[in-house]
Subunit: 161 residues, 2 copies
Amino acid sequence: MRKREFYIEQVGLFYENYGLPRMAGRILGHLLSSESDAISFEELQKSLQASKGSISSNVNLLLNQKLIIKHTIPGDRKTYFTLSYNSLNAIIEEKAKSVTAFRKLFEKGIGFHTDQHTPKHEILSEIIHYYQFLEKEMPLLKEKWENKRKTIHNDNRKKSC
Amino acid sequence: MRKREFYIEQVGLFYENYGLPRMAGRILGHLLSSESDAISFEELQKSLQASKGSISSNVNLLLNQKLIIKHTIPGDRKTYFTLSYNSLNAIIEEKAKSVTAFRKLFEKGIGFHTDQHTPKHEILSEIIHYYQFLEKEMPLLKEKWENKRKTIHNDNRKKSC
DNA sequence: AATCAAGTTCATTAATTACTGAACTTATTG
DNA sequence: CAATAAGTTCAGTAATTAATGAACTTGATT
């Protein structure tokens, strides 16, 4: 299928645009567009025509980001990968961390000011407050989603009965 | 002041970690830690000991991201830069765009599946729902912040009377 | 008009990062 | 215990990206 290969490259470029390795994007593109749940290391390597080294390091990068999960089967030497069920939480938690890092950076910056009553100090304080607001809201958003998700699942169960 | 230079380098490295040019981070670091509201191109160049070319391109990068604003004064050839009052909205809107881009990528991926009743299809659908949820919630969050901000400002006005 | 000042553009250089492929580790099988 | 299979590690290379510095543009000043 020609189109699927094109899609995989597209995801690769999308990832590259994000500052992450193109190959990591290709791996995700393959997982996303594949019908089968688990994909082997070998399949990734052959299908993406990449070196084992590149697959190894990029698969580990995606594992670190909790975007994929590693699976093994008894009596099978191979390693398989699936998209993470938990990737949603991983995404929000990653963002939360970076918001906190940003806030700390701003707080440090403001620390160099001697006068607290400048327009500049006011802007910076507001941005810091905004980050604090986000840090408080993000867990709430996560909760809200969990609740909504439950109701969707209940609805589905009702429908299929 | 020794410490401030260290801080500026720290912001530079932080930005580099984000996949953005180190110099752009240094510029932000300078703006954050400076007492004065507006900083001239010349001051950035001299203080950061960089070439005009590098300051020019990185200042334009930050302008594109709406993190800083360009100012001019009649009778003055120089250009000045301040931190953007609007950077908060810029940040949320940027995130919203990337969530939408991600959702579309997932939808395309799912389009290659022939069977809609696999566990994999279920995970991907859930992730797509989650992104749709975020797309709906982000504007609400922005509103919530605007309201909160107003009440903070009102409180401040009361206190100072 | 000629000069100067403030930025931009762009070719070159420096530095970084991703990828390959070969050597290595670890575990399994005949 | 040799042979094989699956991944990892790492040195070297290819490709990308950032920064410099000089030439250029634009607009103000004499």
